[in-house]
């Protein structure tokens, strides 16, 4: 019943395809036996733009309550894959299932309310106040968000509720992305997807926001998919790390198995960067001590 490696997908790296497929097989079958259907399922998703294959046959399941990080080099197809979830991009092949339903068959407006989206470029509406930005999703659904709820959402992302009346250009980058997160949460989504949400922030703000999001994920019982190009961030925040390379899903590991050397060459190359940095820092500390 389950497609393990979709016929459209590119073959995986030599010697890896077998083991990866087997591993998935066991996970899928165990889920099938014990759990309800996954909240999100990519089923052989392919996206072509003319000659460019942005995503080449990705299949994977994301269970409810999971915090998944998606890592990969720039241009590896992470954003495109994410956008298929709320149909900003329509796959040229395969399907995306959200809570068991094909997203292409759901009314887009309703679907997008159930999926909170934090955008790569933040994407706050510059002509709307913070409160109006946060309230936009419910507003589109014909529902007025109470001031108290907006204050609550602002507090959730650790912003002073007085910020509600400010315009986006009166905020710092970090504050803006906090508003972006609050906006994504306003519709009480089941799934939160974030596309390099902290990419443009300084390391301190970035770290703080990362922790905040992880905390909210747990507190609100969300299912979260976060795209990042920073493997350290992925390893520290996520329950599960997906590695994309040239449109293909090349690794799907828990952080600790990645650190122990699993996931193949492309994944290990990404893990090597923060590990190397950490070792050099430790060595420096050792010298100083």
């Amino acid at each position: 019943m389950f497609v393990l490696v979709h016929p459209h997908s590119k073959p995986l790296g030599k010697g890896q395809s077998e083991t990866l497929a087997q591993r998935r097989n066991t996970r899928y079958s165990s889920q099938k036996m014990t759990n309800p259907p996954p909240l999100l399922r990519f089923d052989g998703v392919t996206c072509r733009f003319g000659d460019v294959t942005a995503v080449g046959g990705v299949s994977c399941d994301i269970a409810k309550g999971c915090f998944v990080a998606m890592v990969g080099a720039s241009g590896s197809g992470k954003s495109t894959l994410l956008k298929t979830v709320n149909t900003l991009v329509e796959p040229t092949g395969g399907r995306v299932l959200f809570a068991g339903e094909d997203v292409s068959e759901l009314p887009p407006a309703r679907l997008r309310r159930r999926v909170g989206y934090v955008f790569q470029g933040i994407g706050l509406f510059p002509h709307m106040s913070v409160a109006e930005n946060i309230a936009i999703g419910p507003r589109l659904a014909g529902e007025k968000l109470a001031a108290a709820r907006i204050a609550e959402l602002l507090e959730l992302v650790e912003l002073d509720p007085a910020y509600a009346t400010r315009m986006p250009d009166e905020l710092s980058g970090g504050q803006r992305q906090r508003v972006g997160v609050a906006r994504a949460l306003a519709g009480e989504p089941e799934l939160l997807i974030m596309d390099e949400p902290f990419g443009a922030l300084d390391p301190v703000t970035r770290d703080a926001l990362g922790h905040k999001v992880r905390e909210l994920h747990t507190r609100l019982g969300l299912t979260t998919v976060m795209v990042t190009h920073d493997m350290a961030e992925a390893l520290l925040l996520a329950d599960r790390v997906l590695v994309m390379d040239k449109g293909a899903l090349v690794a799907d590991e828990a952080p600790h198995t990645l650190l122990m050397g699993a996931g193949g060459a492309a994944a290990q190359a990404l893990v090597a960067v923060p590990r190397d940095q950490a070792e050099r820092l430790a060595a420096m500390e050792g010298r100083l001590a």
Partner: protein, 512 residues
């Protein structure tokens, strides 16, 4: 002479007409350009096509664009019926709308293209439909740029609307054109000042709206809009028809004699209890068609003009035969009634400065043969296209070194300053005597006669009251009296009269 400050308060009607025309054109241009810009934002081809077309329109001189709508609408009468107006508001509105399209379209398309990709994606991402995205994101973010385009369009349109005068639509161009023709500079200046003031006021008000939109200051946006709306409403209210019945519309081509005669005719009709309206500064071809289709009711035209331009004849059967042929043709072909001849001729004649003529030994057109190559001949803007010119040129075998076009008023100045050696003067022109010009004889009779005729449109052709009021003018105006009146308007010294004053003088001389 009136000063500008005395003239300005009297321009209220023209200002109102100008505001209504400009506002309608800009409004219509917005109705067309904004949806088109939205479409262009979704399709490259539409964007290219729309912008190229709008740019193409801009390359047509405004004056020509206005004039082109007359024949276009005339031909459209076969589809929409005889009720379709060919002069006045409709063609002016269409031409100005086309003219206003480009800045609005260009700014709207550019604004859309420059919208932040991330913001547009966020709009989709939060679940906006196409319309919600347009209404909630694209429109408000583009609004200040679109407003800037509307501002540019407004300034252009208010300027170009002065040209609507030439196709019979009242505007602030009326005093400008009348003033130019009668060398009444105060009138020209008053017209320019009023239209520049209007453009400036519109520019500033729209700027306030633009800034309001850009800085999201509602009171500025809505305050500016309210004032603009009030101005338009006030203009509309001022434009409301005084009575249901249409006034008798008197046309004048763009030279002094026509303005004077229009006033003379108007004053007689008013004395007889008619309400009259003037359409000044119309082109020669436009006037004739306008009378034929009753867009205007009365005009003064000339036998030679009608003979050559409308009967398309080049022969010269003599003065009486020409008059009778024209009278019958007008009645049969156009339903236009030729009420009669006013008594004088305004023929084309070639004139030279006396000293120059003596120096060259020229007294007749025949004497110019062989001497023409070193001479410059000046004519009014249509002269060198007219059959009279071709007839004279071919009858005598004339070859001139250069031909130059001048506005009729400036032709005489050109002769005085030596920029022209020979000009195509008019026999009823007061400046022939005043400037002591030599009129060259026409021994071959190449130039036809130009009896001044009174034409009545089909609408009033059989109105006995009109005929009775105008009957006394027939045969009553001598060429000397007409010259005197023309000169009184054209002169620039203390003796200068307005066309209305000159009309009174003419009436007195004619014993009316």
């Amino acid at each position: 002479m009136n000063t500008i400050w005395e003239i300005l308060p009297g321009l209220g009607d023209k200002l109102a007409a100008h505001v209504v025309l400009s506002a309608s054109a800009i409004g219509l241009a917005m109705l067309i350009a904004l949806p088109m810009a939205v479409w262009a934002g979704r399709s490259r081809i539409v964007s290219r096509l729309a912008l190229s077309l709008a740019s193409l329109v801009q390359t047509i001189p405004a004056l020509a664009l206005l004039a082109l709508f007359f024949p276009l609408l005339l031909s459209l009468r076969s589809v929409f019926g005889e009720g379709l107006p060919t002069l006045g508001f409709l063609p002016a509105l269409m031409a100005l709308t086309l003219y206003a399209l480009l800045p609005i379209l260009r700014n709207a398309v550019t604004a859309q293209a420059n919208l932040d990709e991330g913001v547009l994606e966020a709009a989709d991402g939060v679940g906006m439909t196409k319309w919600q995205k347009l209404y909630l994101v694209e429109a408000p973010l583009s609004a200040p740029f679109i407003m800037a385009g509307i501002r540019t369009a407004s300034v252009w349109t208010i300027g170009a609307a002065t040209l609507a005068t030439t196709i019979g639509q009242p505007s602030l161009g009326d005093p400008i054109f009348a003033g130019l023709q009668t060398q009444n500079w105060a009138l020209v200046l008053a017209g320019c000042l009023a239209s520049a003031g209007l453009a400036l006021a519109a520019d500033n008000l729209l700027w306030v709206i633009e800034v309001g939109l850009a800085r999201r200051k509602r009171w500025m946006t809505f305050g500016g809009m309210a004032i603009v709306l009030l101005g338009i409403l006030a203009a509309l209210w001022a434009q409301r028809p005084a009575s249901e019945e249409r006034p008798v519309v008197i046309a004048a081509k763009s030279f002094s004699e026509q303005y004077i005669l229009a006033q003379l005719i108007g004053s007689r009709l008013e004395a007889a209890g008619y309400r009259v309206e003037y359409r000044d500064g119309l082109g020669s071809a436009v006037v004739h068609s306008a009378v034929a289709n009753s867009s205007v009711d009365i005009s003064v035209d000339y036998t030679g003009t009608i003979w050559a331009n409308f009967l398309k004849r080049a022969d010269n059967p003599g003065r009486e035969a020409m008059y009778e042929t024209i009278r019958d043709w007008e009645a049969k072909a156009n339903g236009v009634k030729v009420l009669g001849r006013l008594g004088f001729e305004n023929a084309y004649a070639f004139a030279m400065r006396a000293d120059r003529a003596q120096e060259l030994g020229v007294t007749s057109l025949a004497d110019l043969v062989g001497k023409g190559r070193s001479l410059t001949v000046g004519g009014d803007p249509e002269f060198f296209e007219r059959p009279e010119w071709l007839a004279v040129r071919d009858a005598y075998g004339l070859r001139f070194g250069k031909t130059r076009n001048f506005a009729p008023t400036f032709m005489y100045n050109a002769l005085q300053s030596g920029e022209a050696d020979v000009i195509s003067a008019y026999t009823s022109d007061g400046r022939i005597a005043a400037d002591r010009l030599v009129v060259l004889a026409d021994p071959k009779g190449a130039l036809p006669s130009y009896d001044a005729l009174l034409l009545l449109s089909p609408r009033i052709a059989d109105d006995p009251g009109v005929a009775a009021a105008l009957q006394p003018l027939l045969g009553a105006i001598s060429v000397e009296a007409m010259r005197e009146a023309n000169f009184a308007v054209d002169r620039e010294d203390a003796g200068k009269l307005t066309p209305k004053q000159a009309a009174e003088m003419l009436a007195n001389r004619a014993g009316l």
